[in-house]
């Protein structure tokens, strides 16, 4: 039953032509993807990977160059495909002359809800995102985090079966993030399909069950978060590591990077990390920490994207 999928795409492609410099950008490049109903799905990728364009294609905001897609079994070119779909755009600018209650009412009406249903739903949602006291205040006086929470609320107004969130925690403080995460959990329990675009790996890892990694418009890895992150290792951080030693360790490590003035390495085995400790000490470096890790999505992400980049330079 192919209608069972929440999202189904075949060779979805969008090529942007650069008007001045010539040439073209393959923002989304032949993406074939299937997201089952009730899944929480994360699309990860570096800046400019094509995540936003992919979602905009599905919602009919950007027109495709090639390919097809279905949302909840309906052809994505038909407006009805968006009936049971909620969307929180990246960098949205919701009309600031509305109050929170007014905006939710407007959004509900556009989704076809009758006035009675809107009246019942609005206070519920404002409570959910913690904006009840702000119901009658114009958006022009909201902070960025509040706007983001309201953006989430408007996406939920008509109780959608499929939810697209593009960088949902952008500009939200840690407490707000925790709340958003809790809301998403609850939605998942109710069987809502949630599709999250993010470059915040930790967040996708914590919330999503399935993940795909996108780079240069293509899906370069996908699977269950569980499977992708399987594998253990150790993370070593050290200070004052000379350049030569750093290069030597890089060859040994899965990943190597400088972060906050410290060198950070990921090793697969206990033997490797011990060898690395010897090397750091012998070269006059200072150990900061050694932490056992279960391979994080970040490593998978860095590995995949870097492998892609390597292939291209060759």
């Amino acid at each position: 039953m192919s209608d069972d999928a929440a999202i189904e795409t075949h060779g979805l492609t969008r090529i942007f032509r650069r008007r001045w410099r010539g040439g073209e950008v393959r923002a989304v490049d032949g993406v074939t993807l299937r997201v089952e109903r009730g899944t929480s799905f994360g699309l990860l990728g570096p800046n400019g990977a094509g995540k936003t364009t992919f979602v905009k294609l599905l919602l009919g905001i950007v027109t495709p160059t090639a390919g097809s897609a279905r949302l909840l079994g309906v052809d994505f070119r038909r407006p009805e495909a968006r009936q049971a779909v909620g969307y929180l755009p990246e960098n949205h600018r919701l009309p600031s002359y509305w109050t929170a209650a007014g905006l939710l009412d407007f959004a509900g009406a556009l989704s076809g809800m009758d006035p009675g249903a809107r009246r019942r739903r609005i206070p519920e949602l404002l409570e959910l995102v913690g904006l009840r006291e702000w119901a009658d205040v114009r958006l022009s006086r909201y902070s960025k985090g509040m706007l983001q929470r309201l953006g989430l609320a408007q996406a939920l107004i008509h109780s959608p079966a499929l939810l697209f969130l593009d960088e949902p925690t952008d500009g939200v403080d840690p407490v707000g993030r925790q709340q958003i995460r809790a809301i998403l959990r609850e939605l998942e329990e109710r069987g809502v399909t949630v599709f999250v675009n993010s470059h915040l790996l930790g967040e996708v890892e914590m919330f999503c069950r399935e993940v795909a990694i996108m780079d240069h418009g293509r899906i370069v890895a996908s699977g269950k978060v569980k499977d992708l992150t399987a594998g253990k290792g150790y993370r070593l951080t050290a200070a004052r590591v000379p350049e030569a030693a750093f290069e030597e360790l890089r060859a040994l490590a899965v990943t190597a990077a400088y972060r906050d003035g410290l060198a950070e390495f990921q090793f697969r085995t206990r033997e490797e990390v011990n060898r690395a400790v010897d090397l750091v000490r012998a070269q006059g470096g200072w150990l900061e920490s050694i932490i056992p890790t279960s391979s994080t999505l970040e490593e998978v992400f860095m590995r995949t994207v870097r492998a892609e980049a390597g292939e291209e330079t060759r």
Binding site: I61, R93, A109
Partner: protein, 276 residues
């Protein structure tokens, strides 16, 4: 469901207009004119069909026929509305049309389950409604005041509301197309203003055809004249109707309407295909 969406879009347009000072200025100007006729201008009807006018304590030295007086005032209001009122309406509306395609808002609107054409068309309609209500408010207000002060109820003045709204719709189509193409309210305003300014010139096509010496330029001139909206000539028809004069030709009206239909259709088609 589509009626619900339509109503929501119109309400959104009115709400946004309420948050912009130009619209308040627009309505304020109408109110100021109405108040002027209501309180500042005194008309004393004497000897039956003649009247004197008193303004700021100064009374006109000669009594003129009441009917001519009323027609004079109505003509001034109609002309003011058609030129200054229209300019202000375009200026205010261009901002309102461009707001729809603002980055960050358009993506959100387009994600809602309704066809794109409807989204744009109902904002257009909301805009026309705002202007139509204001124009009617001014015209009917002035008509009532002058009528009650002089006893002359000349219905032909009410046509001014219709002609002004008609030409506004024509120019708003151009604004809509410009906004869809460029997203810029300033540019859209400029294009509409340019059409207003150029129309009295183009209207001289009979004279120009004699003056221009190349057949090519004569054709260009004729082409522009027949294609572009005839703001000037519809304005003249407006005055003719007001004065009870016969209208020479309705061609300026229907050709402008045709222009609007084509331009608006083009705007909708392009809007339906664009990526945001």
């Amino acid at each position: 469901m589509s009626a619900r969406q339509a109503w929501a879009l119109v309400r959104d347009t009115v709400r946004e207009a309420g948050a912009r000072w130009v619209f308040w200025g627009f309505y304020g100007l109408s109110t100021a004119l109405i108040l002027f006729f209501l309180f500042l201008l005194r008309i004393d009807v004497i000897e039956g069909a003649r009247a004197t006018v008193t303004l700021f304590g100064e009374t006109s030295p000669r009594a003129v026929p009441v009917e001519r007086l009323v027609r004079g005032f109505q003509g001034a209001v109609a002309a003011f509305l058609y030129v200054a009122g229209m300019g202000l309406a375009i200026f205010a509306s261009a901002g309102l049309m461009a707001a729809v395609v603002e980055p960050g808002r358009i993506e959100w609107l387009l994600s809602k389950p309704l066809p794109r054409t409807r989204l744009l068309l109902w904002r257009f309609a909301g805009n026309v409604l705002l202007v139509c209500v204001n124009v009617s408010y001014l015209v009917v207000g002035v008509w009532l005041i002058l009528g009650s002060k002089t006893g002359i109820w000349d219905k032909s003045f009410l046509v001014a509301a219709l002609t002004t709204t008609f030409m506004f719709v024509v120019l708003l189509s151009v604004v809509t197309l410009a906004v869809v193409l460029t997203g810029s309210a300033v540019l859209a305003t400029m294009v509409a203003f340019a059409l207003m300014v150029v129309s009295p010139l183009l209207a001289q096509h009979r004279l120009m055809v004699k003056l221009l010496d190349s057949e090519f330029w004569r054709d260009v001139w004729r082409f522009l004249y027949y294609v572009l909206p005839k703001v000037f000539e519809v304005g003249k028809i407006n005055m003719d109707l007001l004065r009870g004069r016969p209208v020479e030709s309705w061609m300026p009206v229907w050709s402008s309407a045709l222009f609007a239909a084509v331009v608006l259709t083009l705007a909708l088609v392009l809007f339906a295909r664009r990526s945001y």
